[in-house]
Structures are given as C-alpha cells and as structure tokens.
C-alpha cells in the first residue's frame, strides 16, 4: 500500500502539534515497513531560501521520501490556493506517486481545491483527513471563542459567525461552510484525535460513521536514556509535591493568566510554598495585556511572597522534556479554549507527571479526574488555588495519580489503527479507540 501523508508544515521548520503528529505518524509508517511519502507544506512565513524558482514541490534537505509543497498563494478568506501552477503540479505529483491512500492533515497553505483534485486525479484512491482543529467550523482561527468577549462558542451558524465578524454577512458564512463541506465530501473517512473533536464535527454535519477517533502519534520520550538513567528525582521520593509547571505556547488562550491569578489567591489563602516553572515561547503572539502580566510575574515585579517562586525556562524541544520534567511534579494545562487533544497531556503522561487541567474539550476527555490527573473548571482561579493546596499537602495523591498515568500509545499502535481505517478494517466509526 502506498500512502501519501500530507502535512501542514514540516516540524523541522515550524513547530506545531498537527505537523508533529503527522510527522511522527509518517516516521512510524516507514518504520513499520510501509511505503509512505511525506508532503509537508512550507509558506513564505518560513525560510524563503527553500523556495526555488518555478518549483511547487521539491525534496527536503536530502531526506528520502520527504517533500515540500511550496505554498505562495494561499487565500485565508476562502481557504483557496490561488496559484494554478500549484494545482497542476500537485496533480502531476499524485500521478507520479500513484498513492493508494492520500492522508491530509490540513487544508491550510494547500487550499481546499487539493482535496477535490486528489479525488478527481485518483478516483480509486482512499482519501482521509485528520481533523487537527476547528478551522473548518470557525473562522476565528478555529478557536471557537467569540471574538468580542472571548467566551466559549459551542456551535457555529451564519448569524453567530457574523456576530464575531460584523463586516462579513451571514450569507458569506453559509457559503464558506458550503465550500468546505463540498471539499470535505471527497473523503472516505476522517480521523479525530479525540471523541470531543469527533462530536463537534458530527454536530457540524460530517457523517458520524465516517469519523474515526485515533490518538495522535507521539514518540514516548520517557524511553530516552536521559530519562531512564536519570538520578532519582525529588518528585520520586519527596512527599511534598509542590512543583508545578506549564508547557506550551505563551498565548492568552493557553490560560497562564488563570494560573497567575490562582497564585495570588493561593498566596492569600494558604501558607505553603510552591514553585511554578514556565516552559514555552511565542509570547509575541499574545495580547499586550497578557504580555504585561507575564512580564510582571516572571520578573518579580508582581509582589508574591518569597515562598512562591515563578520562573521562565524559555522554549523547549521534545528532547528537552526529560530534564524539564525531572524537576517538576505537576503539569498545569489551564487552557481557556477548546483544546482539541492537548499534546502536553501526552507529555505529562509519558513522564508520569499528573496533569492539572481545565475541564474543557479534549482535556476533559483525556484526563480521568482523580484517577490520572485533576480537573478544574476552565478559568476558575479560585478552584485552581485550592488544587495547588491539595496537591502540595494531600498525602499519597501525587503517587496515586502518577501511578495511574496511562502513558502514550506507541506510535506503532497508532500506525496500526490508521491502517485499519485505511483498509476498512477499523471498528465502526464512532467508537472511541483511546489507545489507538
């Protein structure tokens, strides 16, 4: 079986959950002996030196079976590719590679036209799309947050979307939905990383029977020598688990502001000490208000008692995870938007660091409250402050939750689950396949 994996960006060039999952899956397929090819997009936001005159598809850094799709004319308004050469060369590429399965991971940078072209060019091939986020449903970057007050949106409609974008009429949103569904209609199946995503897309109108839930592929970094051969950590022997950490993008919707507020409450309400480490970057994409708050907390300008320490470790690579995880006890996932999958949960689980997460979206689905982690209402800083106290003081809590950590499914099993879907041997869609 020839498989073409089509990824939004290459994780080597631009970091991101969707491309990481796509790439891990591709590598897993190759490792399993499958004839898989990767076509990852690159656009002008990345290194322009990769663009070659007249080329639409090129190799990538001498890596076998990895190609770049050079996207220079993607239209965000209608999710279209405006370069006809891109369409024609993509068609040629399909005819050249003749895949039996084309597995898209996104339409961003490619254009919805490529879905239609894939179906037309390869009428017998099986086409699949992994639903990594909600951009198809929500024009507001797929966040499903109302643009005017940042409250959570539970469902798109022409009028509701118009409320978020007053300059765009409801009819245009209807047309947007029609166009996306027209392009989505070519797929034999969809893959959702969580049941939450499946349910949202089913409510939006995709046939539920076509949506299969398969966890994202992710290498288990806890198997690295740097973790397995580490010296014993205080987390493993201490009874005071008072070290919390955040991993992820430093943007508003990831909810760091809730943590800051919770620290203030904790300082007034309790006398225990704790540390809070922040691991992440991309502060430039945050609002001015959040950046100011962030600066004040990490610089110490914001007055907190000396028993509460906040520090920022900067960005991190996956290979840094063992050392970053070794010095903390809990992983905070305080998102205030609909997390689809919560890659950081996988990172927490693989290192047996119990997550403390917002009760929202894919987080609420993946964290089993009181079994392998703790949940609190999204945005509720007071409840989070209480959880800080409980986490630092309750005997046996950390040990219990840590021991129950499910880890992450092996990439091999995720590849196997995909193959079952690709070959039509998967269990009826709609049933959750948590461990792939």
């Amino acid at each position: 079986m020839r498989i073409l994996e089509i990824s939004l960006f290459h994780p080597e060039l631009i970091r991101g959950g969707a491309q990481q999952a796509a790439y891990e899956l591709f590598l897993g397929m190759r490792k399993s002996g499958l004839d898989a090819t990767l076509l990852a997009s690159a656009d002008l936001s990345g290194p322009n030196a990769l663009f070659k005159p007249g080329a639409i598809i090129t190799g990538f850094d001498g890596r076998e079976n990895e190609f770049l799709f050079l996207s220079d004319a993607f239209d965000h308004a209608w999710l279209r590719n405006l370069n006809i050469r891109a369409l024609k060369w993509f068609e040629e590429f399909l005819l050249d590679r003749k895949p039996d399965v084309v597995h898209f991971h996104h339409f961003l940078t490619f254009g919805l036209e490529l879905f239609l072209l894939a179906r037309r060019t390869l009428p017998k091939a099986k086409l699949f799309l992994t639903l990594h986020e909600f951009l198809a449903i929500c024009r507001a970057d797929g966040h499903m947050l109302r643009t005017f007050d940042k409250t959570l949106c539970t469902g798109a409609s022409p009028v509701r979307c118009h409320q978020c974008f007053p300059d765009i009429t409801p009819e245009m949103f209807r047309l947007r939905e029609d166009w996306i569904k027209q392009a989505f209609a070519v797929f034999d199946g969809f893959i959702a990383p969580t049941a939450f995503v499946r349910d949202r897309y089913a409510a939006w109108g995709l046939p539920p029977r076509k949506i299969h839930v398969i966890s994202n592929a992710q290498t288990d970094y806890a198997t690295l020598d740097s973790w397995r051969h580490r010296p014993p950590s205080p987390a493993d022997r201490s009874r005071r688990h008072n070290r919390f950490a955040f991993f992820g993008q430093l943007v508003d919707v990831k909810g760091l502001g809730v943590v800051f507020e919770a620290l203030d409450i904790f300082a007034k309400r309790y006398e225990e000490d704790l540390t809070f480490e922040i691991n992440g970057s991309n502060l430039k994409f945050a609002t001015e208000k959040f950046r100011t708050q962030f600066d004040e907390f990490v610089s110490g300008k914001h007055a907190l008692p000396g028993r509460i320490k906040v520090s920022w470790n900067g960005s991190y690579a996956m290979t840094d995870l063992p050392s970053r995880m070794a010095r903390i006890d809990w992983v905070l996932v305080p998102s205030i938007w609909w997390e689809i999958f919560g890659l950081v949960l996988s990172e927490a689980f693989m290192f047996h660091r119990p997550p403390i997460a917002s009760r929202i979206g894919g987080l609420a689905e993946r964290v089993r409250h009181e079994k392998d982690g703790l949940l609190f209402d999204a945005g509720d800083a007071s409840e989070l402050a209480d959880i800080f106290y409980r986490a630092t003081t309750e005997d046996g809590l950390w040990e219990r939750l840590s021991a129950a950590s499910p880890g992450v499914p092996s990439v091999e099993s995720v590849v196997g689950a995909h193959l079952k879907v690709f070959t039509g041997r998967a269990a009826p869609a709609g049933r959750r396949a948590r461990a792939a």
Partner: protein, 498 residues
C-alpha cells in the same frame, strides 16, 4: 477732479486703509464708514452715486442675499450646479447659464432640497429647502464652455455664482456625481413624489441623454476563454460581476457540487475594471478545477445589468440561456436536474424559479406589480412597486409551474431566439433595477409566457453579490420613474383584467 482722488486728498488715512486692504476704494470707504463718521463726498462724478447711496434709507433686510455655490460640475454638453440661497424674502425663480454677458441664456427652474446646515447657519426656526441644484444640458449654441452662471430672484435681482468651485469631470464621473447627489439629498416631503415631478418635468430627458452619451463610451478591455468550450453548450450561464470577484469561483464550485459541467459554459461580464485580473485568474482556476468552460469579458466601466447581460448573451453559444446573479446557487442536485430539464424547452417561455434566502425561507416565488396608493397620492401619478411573492415566508414544498406577471432577474431561463426577437434587456435603465420586470412585460406583450417553476430551487443571497455605491441610489429613482412611465397604463389594464 476725480471724486476718488478728492476724497483721498481730503482724508489721507483712507489711502492707508486701501493699502492695508480694509477697503478697496474711496467710495467703499465713504459708504461703509465715512458717512457715519461725518465725512463728505465731493466731486461732480461721484457725487450722484454717493448721494444716491446716502439718500437711500437704511435697509430693513440684509443688503445682500446670503448664498453659496458649492459645486459646479462641467463636462461637454452638461453642467450641474449645487448650492444654497436664503431666498425667504425674494424667491429664487431661475438658475441661468450664459456663454458670456451678451450671449444666449439658458434658464431653468431651480430644483430645491433641504440643507439643515444652512438652516443652522441662518438661524432659521422652521425647516426650509434652502439648497438649490440643477442639471443643465448645454446646447451647442451656448458654447462648449459656458462661463456665466447666476441665480435670478423673483424681484429680478441676479446673483452671479462664483466660478471658483468649477470641477471639470469626465462624462461618467459627472453622471455618477450627479446620481450620488440625487440619491442622497434631503427633502421636505416625499422623495419619490418629488423625484417623479422632477423627472417628468424634464430631468428624465437630460438623464437619458447623458446616459446615452455614456453608453457610447462602453468598451471591452479584455476577453479570456478558459477550459474546453463545448460547441453547443446545453446551458449558457451569463452572469454580471460588479464589485465582488469572489463569486465567480464560488458559483461555479456550487454548480459543480451537483453535476458535471462539461456541457455548460459560464460567461462572466465584468463591470468593475479593477477586478479584471482577479476574475481572469479565478476563471482559469475554476475552469481547470471543475472542468468546464469559463469566459470572462471585462468592460471598461460599470455598464449596468442590462448592457452586461446583453454582451454576455451575445457571446453565448447555447440556445438555452440562464441569466443568473453571482449570488445565486443551485439548492440541490434536483434543482440542477430541473434546470437541465429546461434545455431546449423554453421556447416562448421565460422561466424563473423559487429563490431562497440563506436561512431557508423563501425570497422569491415570482413577482407582481402593485400600484402604491400612498406614493401615488403624493406623486399625483401612479407609482408602481414590484413585490416578490411570499418573500420571507417558509417554503411550502410545492413544485408546480404557474404563470406569473414577472420573475426576478436573479435567475431567468429563456431561449435565445426569443431574447433576440425582443432585443434583449432595455439598456435605458441605469445600472440595475426594473430591467428584469421590463423584460417580463415585453415577453408577455409578445404573447409568450412568464413562468414560475417551483421545482427550480436556487439560493439567492440577495444583495450580497455586488457592492452598493452612492450613485446607485439616484439611479433607482430614475429607473422607477422610467418603469412607471413606460408601463403604467399597461399595468393598470393588466391588473384590472387579472
């Protein structure tokens, strides 16, 4: 001795005032200041003028009539003037245009409009129409560039209007500027009634001739054919694009959802020159992706709905023509099937469908003509309104075909032979509005049928397919008058018979 010199010699300080620009002459100084200061005017030449001026009793009303000329648009053959005048005490009787002081004069009654800023400026308690305007058609004997422009009051007083606000415009710019003004002016009373009176009073003829002159400048700037064009398309879609390019690609995409388009052709007529390149790009993309024939014919200006569609239909190869708005899309595969079923079966039939808003309610089930009693009373002539049947109502799911007085130009299916015989859409209508109803009435007058097919279901995102510009508001008034003027007697008779 010259009286001026005598005054200056007697009162040396006046020379200083003239030098400083306070006054322009000795006489002006005397009349405005000197006589109140006890100074005297000496000398034989000036004595009478000064004496006359001094002899007149102080006026109870302002010596001058407050006014301002705010715009004069000039283009060969036409002149538009806009301003205001405080004529509460001496009514404005005419606006005059002259080639020169001794040349022929063209005088027209002023058209008036309300100026709240003027009311505020003058401190007027009650609303009044202080604004004036007129659109002149300048006859050749008045000269190519008339220079004299004045207001004539009822008393006979003439008020020259300054030439400082003259703007020379191209004919099209002039037309658009006038229509924008005409569409936005504020009146005391019914706008429709006033428009009908003004248009019937001669303005319509001027607009018509101006429009006719503009039509003489219509030209094609580019033409592109993309995709394989069938020699005899089953369906020729003709669509006019104005202001929003997005719909070309999206409309073809919407059709492609339901059927192969190899035997169709899409012809887009571009009325927005600035969109030319984008439309060619999207035509090429759509033709490639959806395997159909897409043509783009770009025009040099907004030629309006009638002309654009006439151009497109002239280029169409199919016998069955579908005139369609860019924001109209098939409702389902069945709708496309119904449309395909009309191929070669529309001879002597002008067929429209059921149109839906995006929310699923009905937008159109045919049109009827209604005499508006209120507007007719105000205008003292019958004012006709076109109403869409069941607009905004839930769909009843019926599928019958019935005769109706008219159908919307948003979706019209007909045989090109019938269209050719009728001479196409009437290009006298400016931009868009009423030309679809006009075509329906001519169709029916020819003994043919105007049909509403309830199974021909299409979405119509009414009003979203093009942009609105200020000049369109003025054109709507003109088109409404033209339609009523043309069809009033016929519509009264038809409605009575019905």
């Amino acid at each position: 001795m010259d009286a001026e010199l005598a005054y200056l010699k007697r009162y040396p300080d006046v020379a200083g005032a003239i030098k400083a620009g306070t006054v322009t002459s000795a006489l002006e100084h005397f009349l405005n200041y000197g006589r109140f200061e006890g100074r005297v005017w000496l000398g034989p030449e000036g004595s009478s003028a000064a004496a006359e001026a001094v002899a007149e009793p102080p006026p109870l009303e302002p010596a001058t009539v407050a006014h301002n000329c705010e715009a004069i648009f000039v283009t060969p053959g036409f002149l538009f003037v806009d301003g205001w005048v405080d004529d509460r005490f001496d009514a404005l009787a005419a606006i005059e245009v002259a080639a020169n002081a001794n040349g022929p004069v063209l005088a027209l009654s002023p058209c008036r409009y309300r100026r709240q800023d003027v009311e505020q400026h003058l401190g007027v308690a009650s609303p009044f129409e202080g604004g004036f305007w007129q659109l002149f058609e300048i006859p050749p004997d008045l000269g190519a560039r008339p220079v004299g422009l004045r207001l004539r009051l009822a008393s006979g007083q003439a008020i020259p209007l300054g030439a400082g606000n003259i703007t020379r415009l191209s004919l099209r710019e002039h037309f658009e500027a006038f229509l924008a003004f005409y569409g936005r002016r504020q009146l005391i009373g019914s706008v429709v009634a006033r428009c009908f009176a003004e248009l019937a009073g001669g303005l319509a003829g001027t607009i018509e001739r101006m429009h006719e002159a503009i039509r003489g400048t219509y030209a094609m700037t580019s033409e592109g054919a993309y995709g394989r064009r069938p020699p005899r398309p089953l369906l020729s879609f003709v669509c006019c694009i104005y202001g929003i390019p997005d719909f070309l690609f999206l409309q073809v995409a919407q059709f492609a959802r339901y059927a192969g388009l190899e035997r169709c052709e899409f012809i887009y007529i571009n009325n927005s020159p600035e969109l030319e390149e984008v439309l060619h790009r999207d035509a090429e993309l759509a033709a490639f992706l959806f395997r159909t024939s897409v043509r783009v014919i770009s025009l040099n200006q907004n030629t309006g709905f009638s002309h654009a569609n006439n151009v497109g239909i002239a280029e169409a190869r199919g016998q069955t023509i579908v005139v369609i708005n860019p924001d109209v899309f098939p409702h389902s595969a069945a709708s496309f099937g119904t449309l395909s079923g009309l191929v070669q079966k529309t001879r002597h039939n002008l067929v429209g469908g059921k149109l839906f808003y995006a929310d699923g309610t009905v937008m159109h089930e045919g049109m009827v003509f209604v005499a508006d009693p209120r507007l007719s009373a105000l205008a003292r002539t019958t004012v006709w309104t076109v109403e869409h049947l069941r607009k905004g109502f839930p769909d009843l799911g019926d599928g019958a075909t019935t005769k109706v007085p008219a159908i919307s130009g948003a979706l019209m299916v007909f045989d090109r032979a019938d269209y050719d015989k009728l001479g196409g859409f009437d290009e006298r209508f400016v931009y868009g509005h009423y030309e679809d109803a006009d075509l329906c009435l001519r169709f029916a007058d020819n003994g043919w049928k105007v049909l509403y097919d309830a199974s021909l279901c299409f979405w119509h995102y009414e009003g979203r397919g093009s942009v609105k510009r200020p000049e369109h508001a003025g054109a709507v008034h003109y088109n409404r008058w033209l339609f009523s003027h043309t069809w009033s007697a016929s519509l009264s008779r038809r409605n009575a018979e019905a």
